[in-house]
Amino acid sequence: MDILNAFVAFLNFVFVPGLAYGAQLALGALGVTLIYGILRFSNFAHGDTMAFGTMVTILFTWWFQSIGLTAGVIPTAMLALPIGIAVTSALVLTTDRMVYRFYRRQKATPTILVIVSMGVMFVMNGIVRLIIGVDDQNFADGGKFLVSAGDFKAATGLKEGLAIKGSQAVTVITAFIVVAALFWFLQKTRTGKSMRAFSDNEDLALLSGINPDRVVQVTWIIAAALATIAGVLYGLDKSFRPFTYFQLLLPIFAAAIVGGLGSPLGAIAGGFVIAFSEVMVTYAWKKVVTYLVPESLAPDGLLQLMATDYKFAVSFAILILVLIFMPTGLFKGKSY
């Protein structure tokens, strides 16, 4: 019984939040890693691309809600998501045409492109703040809980409750579908194969007749879609605020680098590694341990390695450790 309570407390406060957060990070890191693999630079504007896509989705969600178009237990935002992806794709394609293409023709080094992406980041940052403002926006609707803590306690008779929010369930399911679709696309379709070829060896790919402009466009569209989906899922689960999305850049890059930049599989693994490390290092284990050990050994302290304020320090620390000891990441990414 006590082992069960400990297990449920662990699920409720560590596993479920970590899983949802990890899925959101993984989707964000996938976008970063694709841009890095194919366009060969670290896109610092990715966080603000997420914010832009989420903003468009929120605006359409509000419009759908106002005309009474909802999807029952599924959040209305999922209906507005395709529109958000379309608008964000248009934005990043325009940005590529107006900004990045110029530097690509110049054969600019990745360092210059990184700085350029920072400029793009500030512009997108401004656009989002101009349109929707800097405040918190709440756009979640649909079923609030898949399992609520109270119901779970009543049903099982355990002392600990387990809550699974609707948004967490939607996040994990959506992330699973998106990742499966992306891998199928990269492995099985012609365009996907040409993208991988372009990523592996640009000169060889060009020699074999792959159209580089098309590869670049498809990459941007996929990155925009991933950014928008990740942003909307994060916003549904937590809340939307432009500044938070800007801050998400750190854990997302940490995830991509830990997994190995340029490796899609690595991005997913990295997302979960970062998310679970953040949650587990800052969680106070007292409750779980008290259930597991005999009463005489029950801990007095909180058994918390780090205060929750230092959450970001965890991503930083992992980032540095990986860069020192495993510069190419867990899945042998690239480095330009």
Binding site: F13, A149, F243, Y283, K287, L303, A307
Partner: protein, 394 residues
Amino acid sequence: MKKLLLATAATALMAGAASAEEVKVGVLLGFTGPLETTVPGMAAGAELAIKEVSDSGKFMGGSTVAPVRGDTTCVDAAAAQSAAERLVTSEKVAGIVGGDCSGVTGAVLQNVARPNGVGMISPSATSPALSTAEDDGLFFRTAPSDARQGEIMADILSERGVKEVAVTYTNNDYGKGMADAFAAAYAAKGGKVTLAAPHEDGKADYSAEVGALASAGGEALVVAGYVDQGGKGMIQASVDSGAFSTFFLPDGMFGESLVQAIGEPLNGSYGSVPGTDSPGNAKFLEIAKAAGFDGSTAYSGESYDAAALMLLSMEAAKSTAGKDWTAKVMDIANAPGEPVYPGELGKALELIAAGTDIDYVGATAVEMIGAGESAGNFREYEVKDGKLETVKYR
């Protein structure tokens, strides 16, 4: 020649008028700076009391009282001190109503009031540090110290039989001060704070903070935060994960918007917020309206009370010297005695002159405790069926 005589006579007359004593009272508030929108209401409150006493003709055997304004700027201690110096040395004020912000008030107290032996009554400085500042008995305040709400919170929780709570506070001076004051007061009442953890405002996700608090446990979660900021996020995350179901909501968390955002799970939570049901407040609003200003603005009533207390104490001491009248403030402010409400200052002066003990209630039900600061009045409220209902006043 005739003209010269007339002029001489006029000069003599004027000099005579000046020697029939005119008492000056300094009104030292932040007329410019961060509080410039609030201060006009405060100055109007203080000057209303001064005018009422002056017009009654019963003050110190017929003396008049005139206010002299000085600007603290609220933030610049040097500017506040020079304004206070001017009031004390060139205007020769008998006492100072002010300052307004805690930092400048402390500076003026130490560098101007104490060296010159001038008494001060602040209507709005709420820092707990002023409770223990060296003041030679010259400093009082009609606003409660921030620490006072911590005691009220501890009272409410122990009366409800809550023995263990977790505390989360917004990571700034307000939150930290309140959490510390509460922890000390609660421990004195035999309660136990399992964990006091800060939260940052403006984050998207508070589940990690709630996880730590849940692990520490407690019958309720005390949220010393802001209603539209991290405080709301902490409550939402606690409700979502089932970590806590009862919340204590101090003044920063008092608001309809919280009830709307959280909804049904908030029912049964309770808290405290400054407030009074004393008839004095209504009377003050009335006379303020008649005088042409809005008495409901922040600290306007406290300012009226500060000025009134000062002048009544001078009457009781029959002296305008700082060390004389400051000795009488506690007697005038506290029971026993005839209660005095706003608009009755003339009557109060008569009573004092007749030797009757009075208890100044004023606009804010002033009750001086400790080193001469208002005990404050708090409203205990509870969330019932989505409404904020008053339980009682304390």
